[in-house]
């Protein structure tokens, strides 16, 4: 019963974080801020959802597969974000800076 409640909390938090990341990638003004929103929420929401599913499954083969997906996403999601930011920076995409000489730039 307690494990059930814990897993629902994890799944719910993961879904909410996912939606927050979606809103972030949709509404932020600049590529780097969008990548920031997407990269951070992606990893945490994936972890929470997989953890919730693992708690539902109990100790079985499904949990092992979920752990494999978990480990793989844990390493590749930040790597992909880093590669994206690195490629964008090297190709000359400048981060948007709003303040110039203390005055707000549109």
């Amino acid at each position: 019963m307690i494990i059930d409640i814990l897993s629902w909390i994890c799944l719910f938090a993961g879904g909410v974080l996912g939606i927050i990341g979606g809103i972030g990638i949709h509404r932020f003004p600049d590529f780097y801020s969008r990548l920031h929103a997407a990269g951070i929420t992606d990893t945490l929401s994936a972890m929470l959802i997989l953890l919730g599913l693992g708690l539902q499954a109990g100790l079985s083969l499904a949990t092992f597969k979920l752990a494999l997906i978990f480990i793989f996403l844990f390493f590749t999601s930040p790597t992909a974000s880093h590669a994206l930011a690195n490629a964008a920076l090297h190709s000359g995409l400048k981060p948007r800076v709003d303040m110039e000489n203390g005055k707000a730039k549109s």
């Binding site: 879904g15 979606g22 994936a46 079985s60 499904a62 793989f72 590669a83 994206l84």
Partner: protein, 97 residues
Amino acid sequence: MFIAVSLAILITMGLALARALMGPTTYDRIAAVNMFGTKTVLLIAVLAFLSGRTDLLDIALVYALINFMGVVAALKLVTQGDFHSSVKDRTKKAETE
């Protein structure tokens, strides 16, 4: 409850797809597609539990692998213009320039 989680993931996928279609730069599109792929993995995992067929988790695992490869390959194609040039070629080209 699994249905609520899968709906939340679907909403996120819709928002990411909107950014992939709007995105002013190519990198915006690649970032959105990367997010879309990660959410697809999660959606497959949740659907496996929703339908009670946990064999679907294998497909989620394979999708996670292919998604990462695809993003890195797309980045390489965008930044270098081809798939086959190595880092050594790139530094040589930079030196001659």
